[in-house]
Each structure stands twice: as C-alpha cells, then as structure tokens.
Symmetry: D2
Subunit: 474 residues, 4 copies
C-alpha cells in the first residue's frame, strides 16, 4: 500500500547535550520523514532563550545551512508532521512555542487527544485564547495553570487530564521532558551518542542515522526528564491493569522496516505476517509479487513460507517535485502510473500472488490490479497482510470516514469482486496478533475489531476547534 | 530626513461591505506602505470563518492574486508594520488571529502600550500563555476574560486597562470595531465608498487610492462598531480635561504629504513650518535645497517665505531589491550613495540653505552635508523644520536610545560643529505649534520637550516580553 | 513624464584591474538602473576563462553574494537593459558570451543597429546560425570572420559594416574594448579608481557611486583598448564632416540629472530648458509644479526664470514589488494613483503652471491633469520642456508607433483640447538647442524634426529577426 | 548500484499531432527522469514559431502549469539530461534552439560525438561562433552550411560527418526528425497514441505513461521524418557489415526495468543475468539480498536459479530536497546512511549473497558491505551481475577516469580484499552476452573489453570545447 488515503502521522526527535544539536535534529527528522511530510520544525536552546524554525514542506526544504545556523544550541527538539486534527497550516506546524509565567516552553506531539476540544472549551470559558487549531495547545494551558503549578508534580497532574494518544517532547530552557501516554499508543525511544548526549526519537531508524545507540523505550505512563544532571524517570497515570494500546498499525504500515518499535523489528514482524498469510491462504501460483512499497517485507515472508519464487512486477518513480499538470485527455489511471510502471514481460501469462500490507478504500489497489491484468497476468490472488479495516481511529491514524472504508460494509467476497481478483484473503485477527511479541491486551487493534481501548462515546469531530460560532460581546 | 534611525511604524486599513474587500485592503495598505515596510497582513471574513494571510516583506511581495483570492470576503482588516515592541518575526506580523469562547477575533494595532508587560505578567501569573512577543496580544486576553465579558460594555471596560497609544481595528465574524485611545496619539479616519461600504484607515491617502470619500476622524476615546446595520459610536475613558496627545511627529515626518491627519493636510503643515523657519532664521543665500525626501514640503515653504529660489541638489535611486554586496574596499559613504547622488554642477560655488525635516542621530545628515561640501558648495546653512529631538518616545515612534540622539546632550552650536555647517537653526517649539490647527494641549511633543502626556515613571524596556527567566515546574 | 510608453534603454559598465571587479560592476549597474530594469548581467575574467551571470529583473534581484562570488575576477563588464530589438527573454540578456577560433568574447551594447537584419541574413545565407534575436549577435559574426581577422585592424574593418547607434563594451581574456559609433548617438565615459583601475560607464553617476574620477568621454568613432599595459586609443570610420548625432533625448529624459553626458550636466541642461520655456511662454499663475519625476529640473528652471514660486502637487509611491491585483471595480485612473497621489490642499483654487519634460502618447499626462483638476486646480497651464515628438526613433529609444504619438498628426491646439488644459506650450526646437553646449549639427533631434542623421530608407522592422519562414531541407 | 560515480545520461521525447503536446512531453520526460536529473527542456511548435522552456533541475521543478501553457503547441520535443560533454549550465540545457537561413530549428541529443571538438574547430576557423559548450551545437552548423543544403538529402550528408553515439530529435516548424546513429549506440523507439499522434522516446516506459502503443525501434542508420502527412523513413551511413554497438550498459544499469530497449525487456535481461550469475558462482548461504535499487532484478534471477530465498537487507529514503547540512562530527558513512538504512534483525547472523548490478569505483559498495557487516552478517558473498569495468566510455556514459575504476588495475582477489567480502564473483563476458537477444557483434561492451566499435586513437578530452586560449585580433 502506498495509499494516499492513509497519510502518515508524526515523528518526534530530541537531543540534549551536543554542539551540533540543530544539525543532528535535522538528520533525525529526515530519517523519520516517512512519518510526516507536510511540515517540520526544530526548537533549540542554549540555556537562555528558545529559538524556533519551522515551515510547511519536506524536512530538506524547510531547513538549510542558514536557518539551522540561526538556531544553533546544545539542545533541540524537532517534529515532522501530518496533523490528525487541525488543518495543515503554517500556524500549526510543531514544535509549538509559547511563553508564560514560567518562561518559554516548546512542545511536540505525536498522537491524538480525544478530549482536547472539551478541555479547550473549558479554558475558553474562563477567558483563555488560542492561536492554533491543534489539539496540542491545550496541554500548555493545563501546564501553565497556577493551581497545577502548585502541585507536587505538576506534569503528573496535568497529564491525568488528557485522554487519548500522546507521545510528547517538551523543551524548557533547562530541561527536556519526554512523555508516553499510559497505554503507550505511539512509540518513543531513548538513545545515547558517544559523547554522552541523550537522544529521543519515535523510531530507532533516527538513532542509526546519527550513530546513536538505542537504550530503551520510554515506557507507557513514564515521564523522562533530561537535564545536564542526567536522566530522571517517574511514572504517572493510575493502574492500567496490565493493559496497553500499542498501535498495531505501526507494525503493519507506518514504521520503517529498519526500525524497532514496541520492542521488536518492524521488518521481522511484517515478514512473520507474510508467512502467516501463506499458511492461512496458500495458493498454487508462479510468482509472489509485492505491491510497492510497504508490502515488500510481507511478500518476502509469503515467498519464504510458500516456497513460491519472489518476483518483481513494478518499478517505482522516485522523482518528486511540484504537483503535476494533467493533460486534458489524461487517462484515468495516470495517478497510479505516476508512481508505478508495470513490467509487462515479467508477469505476462503468469499466475500471481500479489501481496498488499492493507486495503483502505480499495481504489488504488484496484488500479494496480487492473494494471497487472492489462499487462497479461493470468491469475491474480491478492493476499493482504492485515485484517479488513472496518472502524475509525481516534488515536492518530488518519483513516477516511468509515463509510469510505471498503471493508466497512462489504464482505470479503464483495471486495474480491470489486477488486477483480481471482482469490482474496485477509490475514486473520489471531494470525496478526500471533506475529507480535507482546501479549494481545497490550495492542490497540480497534481499526480492525472496533474494540477501543478508551471509551469513545460520542464521535469526536475533527476540526471541532475550527468553529467560530459563539458570540463575543464588545 | 530619510533616516534609518527612525523607522516608520504601522498602518491600519479596514473595509466593511465590498465583494473585493481583500483586493481593496491590499490597495489600502499599499497606499500607506510608507508607515511600515517590514510585514503586512490581511484578515477577511464572509460572516463565518476568519481567514488570514500575512508575511514579512513589502505589501506587494506578501500578496499575490492567488493568496488574495484564497481569503476573499466582504469584510477585511489589514496592517502593515514596523513593530515598536516585539522583534519583527513572522509570528508577530499583524493582524493577529485568535480563537476563544466567543469564536474568532483578529486585531491590528498602531501605537504602543506602556503597561503591556505588566498586564501580560498578571495574566501569565494566572496561567495564561502567549504566542507572540507583541504588546497587542494582551488586549485579546483582556477581552476574553469572562469577568469582562459579563460587563455591560465589555470593550469599554477592557480599554480602561490600557495605558499608552493605540489605534485599533478588531474583526469578528459579525462586526468590525475601530478604536482610538482617549488622548488620540495616532490618527484613524472613517470613509465610505460609492457602494456604501465603510472604510477605515490611518491616513486619508488610502481613501484617495480606492476612490473613497473621507467622512471624519475616529475621535479620541471613541469606539466605532461597524456591522451590516451601519455605524454605531460610543465613547470610553474618563474626562481628559480637554487634553490630547496627537503625535506632532506624524505632521513633521511620518504621514504622507498628500494625507490629512488630525484634521489638516500634512503638506500644508510642513510648508507652514518651512515658512516659519524662514522667518525665524533668514539667511543670505543663492539656493534653497531640500534633503530628500521628507523635507521637500518644508523647503517649498522656506523658499516661498524667503523668496530665495528653490533648487535641487540630489537625485534619488528608486530601485530596491535585496541587500547589497559591499565590495571590500567600500568607501565609507556608500550607504548614503546608494540612496542619493549629488548634482555637483547645480551647487558648485553656491551658498545653500539646506532644509531638513528633523535630525535624529545626525550621522546620515552629516554624510549628506559632506557630499554637498565635496561637490563644491560654498556655504551651507542647515535649517531644520522641527526642534531638537532630545527625549525617548514611549508611544510608537522608534527613536534610538536617547544617548544616541545628537541633541540629547549637545548644544545647537556643538551640533553645528559636528555637522560642519556654516549656520544651523532648529524650528522653535512655539514656531512648530503655531503651524498646526488644534490647541497646544492637544498635541504630544514629548520627544522635543520631555513633557509626557502620560506618566512614564520607570523606563519601559522594549522586548521586556522576550525574557524567559522564570522557573516552570514539571 | 513617467511614461510607460517610453521605456528606458541600456547601460554599460566596465572595469579593468580591481580585485572586487564583480562587486563594483554590480554597484556601477545599480547606479545606472534608471536606464534599464528588465535584465542585467556581468561577465568577468581573470585572464583565463570568461564567467557570466545574468538574468531577468532588477540588478539587485539578479545578483547576490553567492553568484557574484562565483564570477570573481579582476576585470568585468556589465549591462542592464531594456531591449529595443529582440524580445526581452533570458536568452537576450547581455552581455552575450560566445566562443570561436579566438577563444571567448563577451559583448554589451547600448543603441540600435539599423542594418542588423540585413547583415544577419547575409550570414545565415552562408550557413551561420544564431541563438539570440538581438541585433548585437551579428557583430561577433563579423568579428569572427577569417577575412576580417586577417586585416590589419580587424575591429576597424568590422565596425565599418555597422549602421546605427552603438556604444559597445567587448571583453576578451586579455583585453577590454570600448567603442562609440562615429556619430556618437549614445554616451560612454572613461574614468579611473584610486588604485589605477580603468572604468567605463554610460553615465558618470556610476563613477560617483564607486568613487571613481571622470577622465573623459570615449569619442565618437573611437576604439579604446584597455589591457594591463594601459589604455590605447585609435579611431575608425571615415570623415563625418563635423557632424554628430548625440541623442538630445538623453538630456531631456533618459540620463540621470546627476550625470554628465555629452560633456555637460543633465540637470543644468534641463534647468536651462525650463528657463527657456518660461521666456517662450510666460503666464500669470500662482504656482509652478512639476509632474514627477523627470520634470523636476525643468520646473526649477521655469520657476527661477519666471519668479513664480515652485510648489508640490504630488507625492510618489516608492514601494515596488510584484504586479498589482486589480479589484474588479477598479476606477480607471488606478494606474496613475499607484504612482502618484495629489496633495489637494496645495492646489485647490490655484492657477498652476504644470511642467512636463515631454509628451509621448498623452494618455498618462491627461490622467495627471485630470487628477489636478479634480483636486480643485483653478487654471492649468501645461509647459512641456521639449518640442512635440512626431517621428519614430531607429537608434535606441523605444517610442511607440508614430501613429500613437499624440503630436504625430495633431496640432498643439488639438493636443491642448485633448489634455483639457487652459494653455499649452512646447519648447521650440531652437529653444531646445540653445540650451545645450555643442553645435546644432552634433545632435540627433530626429524624433522632433524627422531629420535623420543616417538615411533610413525603408522602415526597419523590429523583431524582423524573429521570423522563421524559410524552408530548411533535411 | 546507486552509484554517484555513474550519473545517468539523457532521455529524448517527441510528439507530433496532439493538442496537449507540451503536457504529454512533460509526462514523457518525467517517465524517463531516471536517465537525467540535472536539467530539462521542451520546445513546441504550432507550425509557425518554435517556443522553448528549459531549466536546471528535476522535470517537475522546471515545468509548471504556467510555463507549459505558454509553450502550447501540437508538436513538441523534450530532453532531460545529464551531459557527458559540456558543463551542466543553463546555457547547455537541451533542446537547443537556433535560427538560421532556413528558419528555426531545435535539437535534442542523447549520446556523445567523438569528433565534435574537431568539427567545431573547423567551423571556428572559417569564422563561426558558438554559444554552448555542448557537442550537439556543431550538428546545426553542419546542417546550415549552404554546400550541405544544396545536396539531394542534406541530412544524410551531414550525419556522415559525425562519429560517435547519437540518438537525435530535430524539430522544424513543419517537421520532426528522429535519427539513430549507424551503430545504434543509444535506444530510440516509435509509438502512437489513439488519436493517431506519433510519439518518439528513448524508452518505452514513456509510452506506458501516456497510454501510447509501441510501434518499433528507430533502426540504426535510420532517419525518420514525421509530418502531418505521416512517417517517412530513409537510411544513411555506409555498410556497417552487420555490426552494431548497442550499449550493453543500458541493459545492466541505465534503462528502467519496465522498459523495452534494443528489442527486449530490461527486467528480463537483468533477471537472466542474475540466473547466469547463480550458475557461474553458486554459494551455500541463507539469503539473497540486492543492493538497492538497480540490482533488484538480478537478485530475483539469482534467487530463482539458486533456490535460495530472496530477502531484504535495506530500506531506502525517498525524500529528496536540498543538499544536506552536515554536522561537524558527521560519521564518515553518513552519505550512505542518507540513502539506505540496514534492517539489522533481518541479517544478523546470516550468510548473505549480496547482489550488485555493477561496481565502478567500489567506494559506495564498500560502504554498504561495511554496514551489513556491522549489522551482524556472518558471511557476505558478493555477486556482481556484470563483468569488471576496466575502460573508459567515449559514447555517452560518464564513468570516472579509468584510473579510478576499481577493476582497472586490480585483480578480482584484490577487489575482494578491498571490499572485505568472503567471496566475490563478476558475471563473465560470455555469460553477460548469453543473456541478451541480438548477436554479440551488435553490442558495444568496450567498458568491459576495451574493444571499441569505433577507432578512438587519441583520448578525447572532455570539455575540450571550454578552452579560451587562442588570440583574437581586434
């Protein structure tokens, strides 16, 4: 799947204690660019002021030698994003930077708060004003509240107000704070550089890029405070009774195969899912081919398990740039063609096992299947390395409206007919969970099962914060 | 004077009730660009959401067809700026746009609040957070406060908290509000278009640009609310005992000669000052020449009164662009040369009366005098159409630190020697006030006299809001 | 006049022997930007390769620190342009750079060749190919011809083929060559820096900018060769019988008032024309006002001679940027308003002498007159400091088609009615020539008189070189 | 191999007879962007003038809606490039556009002429001038020569002067001409759209993008002339005695696996080479992994033949942008890391067969091998799907200086030690040729064998045309 209907979400990166902090943050974000391509930002400090540079676009377009030099510091946090609430405008690009009684603070957030609109409304009612439409801003309002500041551990108190998914990085002039919500929806890792600097990242791929060593994950419900005196850890949130909500979709699609998230390597998990798929749904065929790019790992697994040879059906175009000028008489499959070209000779007359990582709307998968058929494939057996996606995600993955999910109301047979494949199998729910290491109750699989780890009574409207309907008296 | 040590401040523009509101706001800002060239913004509404486009740079660089189209609406407010507090960053470009319990509000401000840092500190102490370093943001915090909202006339109540200079435009989805502080430091005018639209601008030159008719000034201490039902006026602030604080420097230097501010035309005031200067300090000479560009009007007046012929000593370069690459061996007067070229043949051997509008640091005036001398001027009699500037301004004019003002500690004779002119006269304080229409006690002349219209006990530090020193507990 | 129907032409700048040659060339072009704002280029050398940077736009937009650094050299020639033949495309921006048997050569040209199309056709017929549509390229084809190279003085021989106006700068790796055509249509001056470097420029204003000393004009029909050994001069062209063709329009409109061209200061010539105008057409009035900006000098002269006070009727907008987004209901005089604002109070009820430098189509003059009338001028007496323009220019000034010249077929009285002024006078032809220093037969006044200094039998079509009609066999 | 030391060369695209010609040319170039990323251009015509837009950068950066609209036409030729002679400057971006006696002509060229410098010198000696440093320009000088034009078939005559590799597209206002040199070094194909339009491209992938049908290859020594009357074919060049020189490196590395070049599909050829490699050099191992990206096809073949499972060792970064800001203490392998991340868990403790398509300098291959070793690979057996590259290419492939080729002087064992692999095998010369369809004497394999299809007596200096050493007389 390289599906425009699921856009990647966000990546965090932090570094404490290196003279090239801003340049290393740039590299750390670049390594995690697959998690968000709409905007990027870095905030640094040298113990005095916080300095920020951020903008819309790719990491390498936002940063250059001049602006990285302008925000030099020994400490930095960075963020690249696709926002799940809040339109993608320059105003919403993170890290957000505020000042208040305690000085300056920057915040970067991966995840989605389901009670942000409610919390915001409460603050607005007592006279607070907001500049962004991001769910993240409310966290700083909570933190700045004198009643909260007077508590023994203000941040513990503040985080107890939040519901939803949040891996956070906070930067003050004297501290960097890394937080993971009590259910651990999104990944967050700690590492170290040879010079002793502490680094934090969503995925370990960022550590490999800068030659850092992985130490451990930030634990669900943990607050890690990093200062010149070292790392200090404490926990917050009540007893989750052993439950967790690690997002299984990180393993299936989001994270990079070279990364380690939730304690295990992504490629190995995906390959295991491909193997499981082969045992659940074997088929007599000539060739196993992945749909580029995310399904490559699962296809390797399927091929290894089935002993069917792994082949190649597509080449990909790597060359981006500005958006395309479509000719008037553009054939309707141009969007697929701009990404993929079929190698006709490799599949003509062949019986194919086509491996996908997931199917969301089904439209682009259908386009690719059609291209394979037009190139002469004799049989097409689609194997999807995840169960059918049937439910909305409220915790950070931007699926389309459930009505647009192909599996929301259709049976597998109906989907098979729509996609025009000879056979179709989705990995079973149990099969999927058998491929990951932690106990079942540590994962969130709500998009497949509808079983939400946090009660989501009334649908949370996205962009609920963009409203402007109330009356202000002057 | 075309003095880099006084950078112009801000311009406001508002329009209610025209389908081309954003394009007309663009023109209205362009016409007032002399008041601020560092950034510009427009916020529009169609009765629902507020839309904003803003950026650093000249009005014509910030706006283009595409982004003006993207914010189309029937109503718009605009701002172009040089900020007097708050560094000039993208974050601080106005109008600022916030949302709060009452929906969205945009604000544009010309002037300077002297108690903004204090008010901000109060809000921070009760947990409010700030995104800009502008003195303007605190006004919205005041307005959003439920205790203020519950008052009969919330805005009256809010404005009573403010000390300093402020002409304001506020935009809600259903209202535009224009305000001038009780002492009327900065100008603000009301006009109308043929289609009945209401327009508001700092200077009437903006009205001429869009073919609008001047109606009247917003009065000091007046709140003008504009809706589809028309204009509603009310007053706030207590009794000022007939006093006012119209900034005399608007007449001397800031406003465009084609504009009408504080009830009279700027060119006519400057020409009168030039005449007065001629009666106060006549001299036997061959030619009266202005220092481009602001002194042209005063030079006309001097020439008319003295009967000495008006000539031309300089040509100016109109072609902007990016900053200059200086050659290594740049002669030290290059900065002046990039702006002005001397017409040697016109002044060689001549006895000149050189008219300046004002002298701030004296450095660029000295450079221009030197260039005239090098070109062969036989005598140079400098006549300055305003008194010596000796004191800081806390109300919106960005003079340098008083220690850098040439007249702060020096006598006129000392200044004459420094500038290397044969004679020097500054317009007297009484002379200056005799050239304007309103009674003396309606003007602020504090930069000349040190007599501040509002008590300024302790010096207000600029950028006091940029601090980040307090401790935030986590 | 600030007339879009006459766009300025070109400026040349050259420097031999300074380590900052490219930066000084940048300054030299900037100082002459009034002669061409559509494109600029610099070619430098260090004795080996020639390096070029050029582009469309203002001098300061084309050059920055990085690209000037990339073409560092001890020698440079530069050009800023408005082309009189050849569409303004990137391809045609000068200096043009070629290579041929003799190595590399760069060429910059101010003027217009009337036999370029014919010469080009001759070369094409023997198989030469062309990359630009500029009349300048043919000069290099002539120079590269072996038959010409074998002559004693090849350049003399080559230049004898050219008909028309040309001030040229040629750059080889070992020489810079400055040339002025035998009739001397366009100016070209020699100067020197303190370090001994030789500089060449169209106008002396460029010398003032870089602190260079004016030495002398390049003479009509002179070839000046500059090498490390110094300056060498020789002449070409036959006997012109004492005739010359210095373009009088340089004095009237093109050149900067601070410059010296054709041996005298431009401001002084214009002021003399204004005086002459006052003696030719005196009038009883209250105020003399120039139409910004070119008429300022003539207005000074008119005022001095007539003893009528010189005033100010307009303010100008200095702030450029991208082109304007016109509101749908733009009033028709917006184009004038974007440049000028009328100071109503200064002219209301006044009898004005309005001084213009020249009238071309009459449309913008009419707009300005209308604005003055609308502002309440009681009488308007237009005085134009040049004769009526009635004929085409083939030598470098881009007048519109003669049919569009207001004076081409109309009498002065008809023009007066069209412009809606109370009286109108154009400076007489004799009056004009009495204000310049050289004998009458040294000037080209063909745009006024139709008396062309070179026989122009058949109209030379502009862009004749853009054709593509012949058949090429393959 | 994703080797910066071999940069891709050029792609051609032409279309005759479609109203969206410029937009389709854009797509056709985009589809062939892997052949050249340094610059792109399109020239169109509507039967009258030729219009050009070109620039440095990626296809999608050079073209946008506005500039494609500005050059609309029914006919277009396009080019994207990495130049093999001539520095990559804006001046050299193709198609080049000239005018001459026969009107306008545009030319686009893929390949390299080995006698261009000689031909150019001849033309310079008779007085021709050149604007580019491209070897392509001389072809137009030849074509424009009257003696050549007077021949029966001028283009045949002209092409007989050229030595080297050239696939050409020429555009006149009434014709498009496609040419392939007599030995057929570079590919060139003909296709057709449903509306009857004729299309030409270097690779068939461009046809797939725009839904065109492949007709046939342009034959070596064929001139195809396309007009509104259809296609006309003729041949030139003498008898090549059955020999050809199709570049085998197109099959190994350059062309896209989805394309058909020299009559067969690239993926199938590479997969066959991988199979052959497995039979030539089998090894006992756990996993076959390709070095991204070009070796994927060969790895598929190796796996299929050897029955060893195909796995994945790397993930790639797709996100480009501007060049990177390197931190001061950058570890030395950062360049590799910016492109590739190793999946440690997939290879830790494994015996790997690593498949490369080719080895040029060996430096980046060494970096990748080192990364695999550091990730825990137990054994690394490198299999290269082409013979050792030992000789320079004079026909369009930009290998580095032969001295920098790792195989130029080193034995296979020496290379094995340098790369630090456990075993190393290069595909044999015979093995390679057994995988392609045409007879051996139809291919150029000179980079492996040193057996050049055209006599290359003296080394042809690149950039020989950039010289500027001769003396030009003035």
């Amino acid at each position: 799947m390289q599906n425009p209907s699921i856009r990647h979400h966000c990546a965090l990166f932090g570094i404490w204690g290196h003279n090239d902090a801003s340049a290393l943050a740039h590299l750390g974000l670049y390594a995690q660019q697959h998690r968000g391509q709409e905007g990027a930002g870095i905030v640094t400090t040298n113990g005095q002021q916080l300095l920020r540079h951020a903008g819309l676009g790719l990491v390498n377009d936002v940063f250059d030698e001049e602006n990285l030099q302008a925000i030099r510091g020994r400490v930095a946090i960075g963020h690249c994003r696709y926002s799940t609430t809040g339109a993608c405008t320059e105003q919403n690009v993170q890290p957000l930077l505020f000042s208040f009684a305690g000085g300056q603070v920057a915040i970067a957030h991966n995840g989605n708060l389901i009670n942000a609109a409610l919390l915001r409304r409460n603050y607005e009612e007592v006279g607070h004003i907001f500049q962004t439409t991001s769910d993240t801003e409310v966290i700083i309002h909570l933190l700045a509240k004198p009643a909260h500041q007077s508590k023994d551990k203000p941040l513990n108190h503040v985080l107890n107000h939040l519901q939803g998914a949040y891996s956070l990085l906070l930067l003050f002039s004297d501290r960097m704070v890394a937080v993971r919500d009590p259910l651990g929806f999104r990944p967050l890792c700690l590492g170290t550089l040879k010079n002793g600097a502490i680094v934090v990242a969503s995925e370990t791929k960022a550590f490999d890029m800068i030659d850092a060593t992985y130490l451990r994950d930030v634990e669900p419900g943990e607050i890690v405070t990093i200062t010149d005196d070292g790392i200090e850890s404490r926990h917050f949130g009540g007893d989750t009774e052993g439950r967790g909500a690690a997002c299984i979709f990180e393993q299936i699609y989001f994270a990079d195969p070279a990364s380690r998230v939730f304690g295990e390597n992504v490629h190995m998990v995906r390959a295991a899912m491909g193997r499981k798929l082969a045992t659940e749904a074997p088929v007599d065929a000539d060739l196993v081919v992945p749909v580029p790019n995310a399904a490559q790992c699962a296809a390797v697994g399927y091929s290894h398990e089935s002993k069917l040879p792994l082949g190649r059906a597509f080449t990909t175009s790597y060359f981006s740039g500005r958006s395309f000028i479509m000719p008037n008489q553009a054939d309707r499959d141009l969007a697929v063609k701009l990404k993929l070209s079929v190698i006709k000779e490799a599949i003509d007359g062949k019986r194919l096992v086509v491996v996908e990582d997931s199917v969301v709307r089904g439209t682009t998968t259908r386009g690719k299947i059609g291209a394979l058929r037009a190139a002469g494939a004799k049989e097409i057996h689609l194997r999807v390395a995840s169960p059918p996606i049937r439910h909305a995600c409220y915790f950070g993955i931007d699926f389309p409206d459930p009505k647009q999910l192909i599996a929301n109301t259709r049976s597998v047979e109906e989907i098979r007919k729509y996609l025009e494949v000879d056979s179709l199998h989705f990995l079973s729910h149990e099969g999927m969970l058998s491929c990951v290491k932690m106990p079942k109750n540590k994962y969130c699989t709500a998009c497949f099962s509808g079983d939400y780890p946090i009660n989501v009574e009334e649908p949370v409207e996205k962009f609920a914060m963009d409203r402007g309907q109330l009356r202000m008296f002057t």
